[in-house]
Amino acid sequence: MTDNRKSFMTTRKICIIGDFAVGKTSTVARVVHNVFSEKYLTTVGVKIDTKELALVDGKTMKLVIWDIAGTDRFSAVEYSHLRGASGYLLVIDGTRRHTVDVALDLHREVRDRYGDVPWVTLVNKSDLVDEWQLFDDDLAALRADGHRLFVTSARTGEQVEEALGALSELIR
């Protein structure tokens, strides 16, 4: 039966999008409730995780996170997974400059299809900062375009909670 506690909890759908191998799955893996195995990513093309977060006002929000299999170009099926999403995480690999372009293409396409949906941008692999192909200027340019940037680590989960928290406040 329905748990009374849940009656007071807001549920929101968010998606994680980004180029292939930017670390979408591994980045959130450390901080979310992994309900299904990664096998689903290669079979169904999407994997669902959940995450409960405390909001600033003390209420709780449950995020249903759709981790959408990464390719440089989404087909209609991938975009259909974004339907009804309250927000999304746009993931970039800091060591591969090309992933910024892919992310921005996806970002544009999503906005064309679903309108002005809140998002935050994760620049991943902060632990491999020596290999970075992005520089402060690039980050500043993204910020100037309205991206809320979080430099995250897939290995330690650093800044991931903060990014999810920020997105939650945007979509509450």
Binding site: T2, M9, R12, H33, F36, G45, D49, V77, R83, S86
Partner: protein, 621 residues
Amino acid sequence: MNSDIDKIKDILFGHEKKALDALTRRIDTVESRTADVADVLPDAIELSDGQGPRLQSVLKKPLEQTLTDAIIRDPHRFAVALYPVIGPAIRRAIGEAMKSVLASVNRAIDTSLSPTARVKAWRAGIPLGEYVLRESLVYRVDDVFLIDPRSGLMIEHVRHPDAGTKDEDAVSAMLTAIQDFVRDSFAGGSEDLNSASVGQYTVWISHGPYAMLAAVIRGAPPADVRSMLDVTVERIHLSHGQALKNFKGGRIGNVDHELAQCLRLKLRNGDTRKPGGLRWPVVLILLAIAGLIAALWWQSFQRDRTLERWRAALAVEPGLVVTETWRQGEQYFASGLRDPLAVEPVDIAAAASIDAAQVSVDFRPFVSLEENMILARARATLSPPGTVEMNLVDGVLVAAGNASAQWRARFETIAPALPGVTSVNAAALTSSDAELFARVSRATQPPDSVQLTVTGGVASFAGEVEAAWIAELPSRLAAVEGLRGSDLRELQSVERQELARLALSINDHRVLYDQGTSLGEIQQQILPSLARKMLEFGRHARALGVQPAFRLVGYTDGLGDPVVNQRLRFARANDLKSRLIARGVNPDWLILRSGPPAPSDDVNNPLRRMVQVEVDSIPGM
């Protein structure tokens, strides 16, 4: 006057009056009013649709009535109109029913081929076919999700109490994702996913415009479950249509009970029940409790039987009076009276297979008058030798066997004082030969000439002794207790011996006559000695209680007349009789006999002129 007022009105309110007249005409005219309402009606309905169910409820009754009247009036028209809707609906229902039947049949076949099913059927004691049928009919709706099909967000969820837990939000999203995947990949983006099956689970999805209802079902559900889902999703849309349309996340109230109606459970016996019936863990626990109670009862029953055995054993034991026996758990108790000579109740417990540590007894001492206990007490008090056996016959303590005189005296003194003994009987009690010998010697004081032996309780005497002593012997022996008998055959009286000696001496006497009955002088001198011997014989014989008798046999030679000789033989015997009488011999002792005539070759033998004295007989010789 009135026309003046009208003029003033025209001047003051002319414009308003025209407008009022126009309005009045418009309201009074049915056509214009109808046109007005027709103008605003679509907007009004559209506005009302967003403001709750009032419009529906207002329109419901007339619409229903109108539709009913219309269908009654012209059913064919409605049948034609509904044909495109009814056709697919029927096909869909039939399709679902067939799928359900096929699923049941498939499951039945699967189960019938399974060795496990055969084993289970065998263990349940029913034919395989029946078992398979039962198994096929079981289904349970584990989860029901109400899902927003656009976002995949879960609107509401209910779960069967026995079903496992899973993150229902994630499951809802994944169901939606899979549905999207199937639809977009295979169905060309037009058809919804209606069912999915994995192992024993079936997911049935019923779609509405704003929400889909997904039921996770274990087993083979019948088609009416599908209908139930369809009806439920319709009902939820009817009652919460607007809320579903505007759903953005979170929950909408009062739909969980609608979903809970779908949590059905079909039992093997065909009963369809809501969750909460008797489930197998409960049955298992109840069985365990029943088993435990049975085990405890059995243990208690066994212990009661053990107690009963102990009680019965105590009851028959002499010297014990059991007033109470009881049991607390595995501890056994008994109280009552116990003769100190009786068996310990604890020892009897061991015979009833009760450990001594489990026994507590409280027995007070008492003296039991049961025969066994009287005997036991007599034995304990008298300590009889092993050769003595004691019995109690009607209160009389009888001792038999061989015992010392000392013990015999003890028996005769102490035993009558024992409780329960009215008198004693020692008649069958014998003494030892040595002791008997001493007693017999004391009682009879045999002279040296007599030899006494005691063998097997029998006293034997041998030797010569005075007859008077022998005569007193029986009475003296009678006074010796414990003597089984006496043997006097080897005992000779002195008197009898003397008598024999005298008889021999007397029998040697021949009194020789001269001629006729004249006796020579020498022969006359012999007579006193003969008479004395005869008198002595007589005295001894009488002492022995015997009448003495002597034969006087007269003889003659062969000379002379035989007739005279015959008379002479008798006369000579008579002559000696007279002479002996004269010397004090009792005439009654004397018997006269005439001897035979002398043989022809011995006619002149003077030694035949005689009288021979013979002792007639001695009793016992």
